[in-house]
Amino acid sequence: MTIPLLLLIPLAASGITALARGRRALELIHILSALAGFTASLLLAAGVLANGQTSWGNGFLFADHLSALVVLLTAFVYLACAPYAIGYFRTDRINQAFGPDEDGSVQLAKIRKYYVLTPLFAFSMFLVALSNNLGVMWVALEGTTLTSIFLVTFYGRPTSLEAAWKYAMIGGAGLSMALFGTILTYYAAGQVLGTESLSALNWSVLAGSASKFDHTVMRLAFILILLGYGTKAGLAPMHTWKPDAYSEAPAPVAALMAAAVLNCALYGVARFYVLTVRCLGPSFASQLLILFGILSIAIAVPFILVQRSYRRLLAYSSIDHGGIMVLGLGFGGALGPLGMLLHMTFHSVTKPLLFFCAGNAQQQTGNDSLRRTPGGLLHSLPVSGPVFLLATLAVTGTPPFSLFQSEFTILRAGIAAQHVGLSILFVTLLVAIFAGFFYHIAQLVLGPPSDYPQGETCRWKTYPVIGLCALVLLLGFWLPAPLYSLISGAAGVLAVHP
């Protein structure tokens, strides 16, 4: 019963916020829905750990370890963003980000848009991970684009319109390729299973008979799926919408897109990866994944080194991390998928923290420039400033932080799969990214006091930063046993059985 509940909670929250009156009511409902969603995702994960995969509605929705993990991470990011959004929009009101607004009615209309659309956004992401039918999964992924376009145009600046247009067009074209891939998969399955019933597109059915599919069709289907869902995940060279959308959207929306949508898009790739590997053997899919992975990491390097804005810097970091996860999947073996999913988990905890710190810095200083900054954010933001630096170390995979462990696992997978040259290249690129990223953020945070306003503005913005920071530190030393067994179970779904 937790599966339909997970989908109903955000839908109900969105409906109620559309009707609710005051600002406080909106905030309260949003927080409660995020808490309820996270609790339900914990219940789902516990259920899957105890009893294996579950399904609902005649196999229409289903959850195995992989879906449960992605749902858990999505619900977690949603929960982390909920209190932060409250503080973020309250500060926007103080900064008059919405123009002159005497009685707060302009702000109320704006934040109502956020509080109505964000639960729908979360709903689509849950549906991506929970739908068994690959066609419904496509519909849900398209839904994540549609529900977030107006969140990108939130501030109504000319540049946000530009970002939203690119996001809609590139995303739309990419997803149409993925739909073509899905149609081809359905065709390949139909030759074996018959297309009379709905179940011919159900992943749990397809996975069992994928070895009998036609090779030519599956090869074409996987290329189209990788290009399509890769666009949604922001893999190079289809990444160009990402820096624009991430820098124009409000910080909590950018955090949701960077940490949660990325997972959902890669989840789509991973589901088709399993089918392709069972049909064609591992080498074809792996080579493509490694190519796109390395390309994404490599393309992030120059843009990170010469970056002018820290919001865009975070977007390129997200492209880089998408590439790392895809690379892990491509290396395969026993360690590759495990490394990918560990990386996904740690990234989903660390990335929101970075976006929160960046959002706080941006609201404090009024811009997100790396060039015009006099530095010294440390003094004006006594909490978010130092945490920003710490989160930078964490996200670039410095030991002892957890992302180091997952990147090391992927490296070991690469060496085990005898991609020694690629592994060396991988490490070199990571070091370059670390250098550029750390240089920029250190310039911003360290230095003598500057004339920015002093002190954190709103405790709703500070508490999520402190909480997530504690969690990032904790995960560096201790991974809870149930979480690890969920991750390794999910890696088992993706593992290649020759």
Binding site: G135, W138, V139, W165, A168, S176, I183, G190, L198, V217
Partner: protein, 228 residues
């Protein structure tokens, strides 16, 4: 058995309509008036609905009828009306001004059609089913051609509305591919896709309107401030 009950007749009709669909797609590339472009899209969608209902008739398949009706309602009537109203409301200049000139665009479309036939060859080889079950399989190259030309239109057009039209005709190509390969997706998926397309067009219409308000133009090549 009257002549229209013979699957042979159905196959010929489908081939004829698919050819017209392709001609309309190239018309959209070749001509310069925005309103004509929207009408060409409407007729193309109407023909797709006809192809789908022909296949549904010979196979007695109810769910394809539903898909055909939805195509008729949404893509042949509702979306063109929305787009026409948008165009008249924002009073843009009616010419399309592509990046690539018309003769070259037509040549490129021809080459893309050729490419589509090459790509479809291995997929078609295995599908020589006899009688009603094999209907429409020969439209696959047309579907792939619509898809490729749609992509080309997206990158070669300046105006925001024409990019939306290109995205929609690309989507028409996918509909034809689904019909010709698998007789449509399962109904729930088909419904979801229609819903998504409808919502997407509404959102894009609002975006186009706001771009026009903000930039005093619909030329997307002006959307170039975000770099690096």
């Amino acid at each position: 058995m009257t002549f229209w009950q013979d699957p042979q007749f159905g196959a010929r009709m489908i081939t004829l309509m698919a050819a017209l669909v392709l001609v309309l797609q190239i018309t959209m590339v070749a001509q310069r008036w925005l309103v004509t472009n929207i009408r060409a899209f409407a007729i193309q969608s109407f023909l797709l609905a006809c192809i789908a209902s022909t296949i549904a008739y010979y196979n007695a398949a109810t769910h394809i009828y539903i898909a055909a009706t939805l195509t008729l309602l949404f893509k042949a009537v509702l979306l063109p009306v929305i787009l026409q109203r948008l165009v008249s409301r924002i009073e843009i200049r009616q010419e399309i001004e592509p990046f690539v000139n018309v003769p070259l665009s037509v040549i490129i479309s021809g080459l893309l059609t050729l490419l589509a036939y090459v790509v479809a060859e291995p997929l078609q080889a295995q599908t020589s089913l006899p009688g009603a079950a094999g209907l429409g399989r020969n439209t696959l190259p047309v579907a792939i051609a619509l898809f490729l030309i749609g992509f080309f239109m997206m990158i070669s057009r300046r105006k925001a509305v024409t990019q939306v039209l290109a995205l929609l005709s690309l989507e028409n190509g996918l509909f034809l591919a689904a019909i010709s390969l698998t007789y449509g997706m399962p109904l729930i998926v088909e419904l979801g896709i229609f819903f998504d397309v409808l919502v997407a067009v509404m959102i894009l219409a609002i975006l186009v309107y706001r771009i026009r308000e903000t930039f005093d133009s619909m030329d997307v090549s002006r959307l170039s401030r975000l770099k690096g």
